[in-house]
Amino acid sequence: MAAQPVERIVAQPAEVDVQSLLRRIEELEQAVKIQDRKRELSEEAAVEKAKATPTASIGAGGFQIRTADTNFVLKLRGYVHADARFYPDDVSTGTRNDTFLMRRVRPIIEGTVAQRFDYRIMLDFPSGSPTSAGNNGLLQDAYLNARLYPWLQIQAGKFKEPVGLERIQSGANLLFVERGYPTQLVPNRDAGLQIHGDVFGGGLRYEVGVFNGVANGGSGDNEQGDDDKDVAARLFATPFGKSDNDWLRGLGFGVAGTYGEQSGALRSLTSPGQQTIFAYTTGTGAVGSPNATADGTIWRVSPQAYYYVGPFGIFGEYVFSSQDARQVEGPTIIRDTLRNRAWQVAASWFLTGEDNSFKAVTPKQPFVLGGEGWGAFELTARYGQLDVDDDTFPNFANPGTAATKASSWGVGLNWHLNRNVKLSLNYEQSNFEGGNSPLLNNGEKAILTRAQISF
């Protein structure tokens, strides 16, 4: 083979390869771009998939599982109240009952199904849980709420009747360890059907429902002995709830009431220290053993209001209760209408500057052991009175053992370590009129403490 010039050997393939190389570069460039785009699309698909994937979370609000569209939600929550009660002069009042107790032990399952249907089941395992044929005391709440519109929701099951302001407040958000006197004259939880909602952009909340009906302060979930039902209704306005004006935004006021028929046992009334200060006559109904029961119309009315501005908050409520009752002693039946009244005003101030609220308050700086945060400190004070109808005596209650009137004041300190843990210390002092027992004669001084965990 003859030798070729070096430049010809090199130059000839080079001319051919330029076009070929350009094409190959273009193809490679396309291949890279295709891979990049596929990766982009794959990432977008992953993001879309993640959006549609149910999520589980745990935090201060409890444990929660929910679908990406939040149409299905399951929450596991709860709260525990480990209390202690001390009565400094219980020797003089003849009652030695200082005690530790589990006041509330409440697991909660709640959530949403099919976007608009909320449910809640709250149990309670306190010390000495009272259960009867008319009420399963272990079952506090069990209801379904259909959120058709913000202004029209339908709730069915067992839940709080919409009457008492402090009763409606969650047990985990109370200012004092024990609720005040008005709560004892309004229904607690009852089984029934309620429509409720917010109108005027949330400025007015209404609730109206039909329930089995319960005695003052009582709960029930199974009507015993009659077909009659009670109607309970409440209107509560927060006209400046969406205002920018700090001085007006926290104002709320309203009125609630019930009307119905009630028969059966009447409940005792207690002091802030949870000692019985008034009891209706309970006997067999035979001669010498009179028995007083509810027997006829019961109605209640309760104006109520709260106001929160900055760290300060105050609420007040008044309850008037009218109950037809009868006393049976052998062949003798005495009927009367018993009208009881109660009111209270309670206020609090966050020393640490948190915004006060009817609902839960989150400390600005949660307590950290060895750290800078100390949580939130809240000073509380209240005054309240209970007035039992004079017509109650002597046929329906023993004037020798039952108070006709009670006046109480209390002060307290709440230490919110964080959103979940609160320690409470209350001092309550009460004076009573009527009766002739050491407790009613000397009054009550009670120190109540609580360790609360809620999530």
């Binding site: 990049d36 785009r37 202004w151 029209l152």
Partner: protein, 336 residues
Amino acid sequence: MKTNNVILGLGLAALLTTVAGTAVAKEHKLLNVSYDPTRELYVEFNAAFTKYWKNKTGDDVTVQQSHAGSSKQARAVIDGLQADVVTLALAYDVDAIVEKGRLLSADWQKRFPHNSAPYTSTIVFLVRKGNPKGIKDWDDLVKPGVKLIPANPKTSGAARWAYLSAWGYALKKYGNDEAKAKEFVAKFYQNAPVLDTGARGATTTFIQREIGDVLVGWENEAYLALKEYGADKFEIVTPSISILAEPSVALVEKVAKKKGTEAIAKAYLEYLYSEEGQEIAGRNFYRPRSEAALAKYGDQFAKVELFTIDEVFGGWKKAQETHFKDGGVFDQISRR
């Protein structure tokens, strides 16, 4: 108190509350759930309708838009997206809302003129300036080395129309030989390196990511691309034959009734048929139904022989069952 009285009282309270709740409404809000490339159309149309409604009634109306692949949007409405109206790429997606969501009646196509399709479009090709691969008709798309950018027929309305256009062309070319049509369409998708979930995504792939030789998609989307990115960068190639695409609109009756927007939602869709609505459609490169608007905007579209889905495939239901359901022809030919 007797139980009957209690229930009557509750009923009255509910009624009063309903009246009170209705009376305080001041501003109307509509949600139009639409397909991918209609963003610009409905931005302009919504502004026009808002003005029209204000002049007519004195009320304010805000129309929110939601856009994604047509089938994906239908799924979202079935799953609870509170659409007052849907304006989707194809009737089958509205039918899916009827069947699976039960949110509107089955005869929804009779509620508005032209089978509830106020404008039409078709499938064309967008190529790079100079048409370097010499694309002229469907045959050129299945040649080796040509990279196509259609969207995914499983999720995109435009992609289904494109698939059916290719199939219809092949049937005509091979004398209604289904096997050869299937082979033709299989080659078509073998040349598609990327399948986006929606038409707008495919446009992004072709224009912004500079992938592929031909974007196969909506005629209106192709003209919009020319307008936005310049005729010095792209060219539109109109094939000899294509499908008459009839995007459908419908009132989501149950949602609108529940939200109290039934009347205004209906008026919104009716306004698409007004002269102003038709003008807006034409300006956004949709083929208007009204003769006046068509006379004004018809010249911007190239002449093309159009066939309908009913003529070639026996309607959407049959086409869906044969080609796009899980395990259908598209799944068979796109396995790689």
